[in-house]
Assembly symmetry: C3
Homo-oligomer: 344 residues x 3
């Protein structure tokens, strides 16, 4: 959709349009933030920080809650969840080029590959024996899909994705470029000083509606599978080690690393650059803030953090010297308190 | 090997089988953990945490130390190093599809490329002039190997690996998908506010039995080479900068970053998400725990850490305020001690 | 250039040659550090740490400041900025194989692609509709370039790079292998427990003379563009989220992560493995040291840090216990001070 009217948009989004009748036929060309939107753009109001922008917006219309409609100088689309309505609207205005539903002549598919209806397979894709690809799925150029993988319907793999053998993707999954699914878990047995490889016999099983970011990697399990449940969203450059289980609808932001055999519950938010050490369990409904190290189980829902905040380096250098002396400081404090107790 | 008998397995692993004669002919179909193994699966006991599981296991047999045999309700395979024996057994049960020992018609090899016996080169591989590839090596689909690379025998490159020019890989190396070897080191000279590129004239030299994880990158040296010695194991998404040297049999876990011109000794364990700043030397036999920053040389073997443990965010916020005041706290503590010394 | 004379080199670098007339015709085969350079290698002196090496060097000549010439036992090339002169010399000795200025027969270009003069496109490259590629640009094997991208002249994309649609690269940009530009920003709207994708309607705009390291990812904007200004240098495995803006000539070292909608000013240095949380503003001329978390705006030029230095794990364990008690320690210290004030 590149041009539509406000009226049509309201219908497509299932929202009530409030405003002058004239507004209903305004052609809408796209989406923009309140402050930058022009008279042919739709905007949205979700955050009270932007009240001033709302009052001055020149958008054709604003998606907002009924309670905020009075503050809006232009037409309104009334939503109980304006951010969700914005998400739906964004899909309508996505100008991402459509891939043709064909198998490119320069793709290399094993004769045993089963391809659903309407599948798009781009140039230089290589697909191994025994793979099945669900209807409507799009495989970007130069992807490699190992033997025995199962890819559900309506998935999208962007270019240069690698799937090792026996990886399962559910329905409507998105995998971004340079991601790797099913690589060997990092398992070795030591004999003397040498590390001997433990063959990784498990696989990777990914549920429905999972998104996996650019350059992320998910290792196959050692004996069992590595499991990513339905609705999990994984950002770029996230590392998921072998045997990990991520519960449904959990979000993991960029550059986080989840070490082997750990599990994260449902509906968690793991912010960016977080580390989770191996064999740790995180329960449902946990938020971990950016760059924290989860070095023990988390058994209660809540918000967790580690690290220190940013500081001028000069002061920071003094703090880190004292950090190493913290236990000494503690003992000296106790001694002072004890002495104080004795003093008159 | 998909089915064998326990007797044959014992012979293949060089282990003594203890148990009833009946057990010797039990067909074994795979490996599993003690708690989940069924009567046609082999298991192993390496960690006293799982004593209870050992007593109840339904495995066909368990690899364990002679001293633990009495606790085992099923047949035993006696090993001095059960975890290493498990590693060997895992290789026997790896069902990873074998690649055919052919050069795919859709691979692009410069006519000067020297290919050993039994080499497998998949579709869309591109190999530059002057490259040699040792016998038995497997190059996965869509790999690109720059001019003048030398790849030893029995290596495996998984799909979508990139090697720049003049990278050397020893024997039996494994490189996982999206890894990049020989990219330019990050070197610039400043003139005014602009950064001018320093051509990276060194190469990357990788020893024997090295494994490099998915999405990892190893930059070529500025003048000398970046060197990874024999037996080093590098996990996913590890960054090794220019001029770095990693000593033999050192293990580097996922998402760690080793900055330029640093060196790590032999037999070290660098846990996940560790940072090592540039020009640092770490001696042999050092362990660095997860997400630590090595900001100075480590000259004594031992275990090292930095960072703070995970905490509820509310308390953590208070701690980080005080962290910035640590030097002030220290001075006030000293003042109190001085005063106390004077008090009656 | 593989062999030249010192005289020719001095002319090429625009530097004055001081030393015997004999030195002027010395053939120079390459560059090396002061300590390892032989009589046919050029070296450079930029750091007083290496004074001893300068006095003993066996190099054919040394690039250095006029003030240091008296300490040099061999011929000198006099430079006001020896490190910059070294950078220029390194380019002369780069033996990187040249790519032929042809479009490989196994490349797949949409008929609408506009290709400048002298462009090199390697095997298995896939380029979408509406793309234009400037003169002299080199596209490595197995790169995928989405529709509507604009790539300036004299760029170099190394193998296995992925560009999504509508990414713009300026002149003389370098993009290393496995990098991903234009992947979807990580944006979701929550409805119940589920996360609904927000289509990312912005693009990525990259200025001139930008270098992007191996495995790095730069997401497209949600509504506006993600913008990387001229002269920015980005190392390996860096993650730049949607809507971020990086100011000109800023340097971002390996494995750093810049979260959504943050901006970094001009001429900043972001060291390795740094995290910047979302919606943060960092002003011009800021340095952030390795592995710091920028969890608030930085409004003054200067050097900033977070984290704790490396320590023996035994002591560190005690420190992190006390870290959690820091606010308690602070209160107890205040109480002691108050009591002391009352004490005789």
């Amino acid at each position: 959709m590149t041009v539509t009217t406000l009226n049509e948009l309201a219908a497509a989004l299932g929202l009530e349009l409030r405003g002058s009748d004239a507004a209903a036929s305004t052609p809408i060309e796209g989406l923009a933030a309140l402050a930058s939107a022009g008279p042919h753009q739709l905007s949205f109001f979700t955050n009270s920080r932007y009240y001033a922008d709302l009052g001055k917006t020149k958008a054709a219309a604003v998606i907002l809650r009924a309670a905020d409609a009075a503050q809006c100088p232009v037409a309104c689309l009334i939503s109980n969840n304006p951010y969700f309505s914005y998400a739906k609207a964004s899909q309508l205005f996505d100008r991402r080029p459509k891939e043709p539903a064909v198998i490119h002549v320069a793709a290399h598919l094993d004769p045993s590959v089963i391809v659903g209806e309407g599948v798009s397979i781009a140039a230089n894709v290589v697909i191994g024996a025994g793979v099945s690809i669900g209807a409507g799925t799009v495989i970007g150029a130069n992807c490699v899909i190992g033997p025995d993988c199962v890819i559900g319907p309506d998935c999208r793999l962007y270019p240069n994705v690698s799937l090792y053998h026996a990886v399962t993707l559910g329905d409507r999954c998105i995998v971004h470029s340079s991601a790797v699914l099913g690589s060997d878990g990092f398992g070795f047995a030591k004999a003397g000083v040498q590390h001997h490889k433990i063959a990784q016999l498990g696989a990777v099983v990914i549920g429905n509606d999972v998104e996996i970011g650019a350059g992320s990697s998910i290792d196959r399990g050692a004996l069992q599978n590595t499991v990513i449940e339905d609705g999990v969203k994984i950002d770029n450059q996230v590392q998921i080690a072998h045997n990990v289980r991520i519960g449904s609808n959990t979000v993991i932001c960029g550059c986080s690393a989840i070490a082997g055999s750990s599990s994260i519950g449902k509906n968690c938010t793991i912010a960016g650059a977080v580390g989770v050490i191996n064999h740790v369990k995180i329960c449902d409904d946990v938020t971990v803030t950016a760059m924290s190290l989860v070095n023990q189980d988390i058994t209660e829902p809540g918000v967790y953090s580690s690290g220190t905040g940013i500081d001028a380096t000069g002061n920071w250098r003094r703090s880190i010297v004292r950090f190493r002396q913290l236990d000494d400081m503690w003992r000296r404090l106790l001694r002072l308190e004890k002495h104080q107790g004795k003093s008159p």
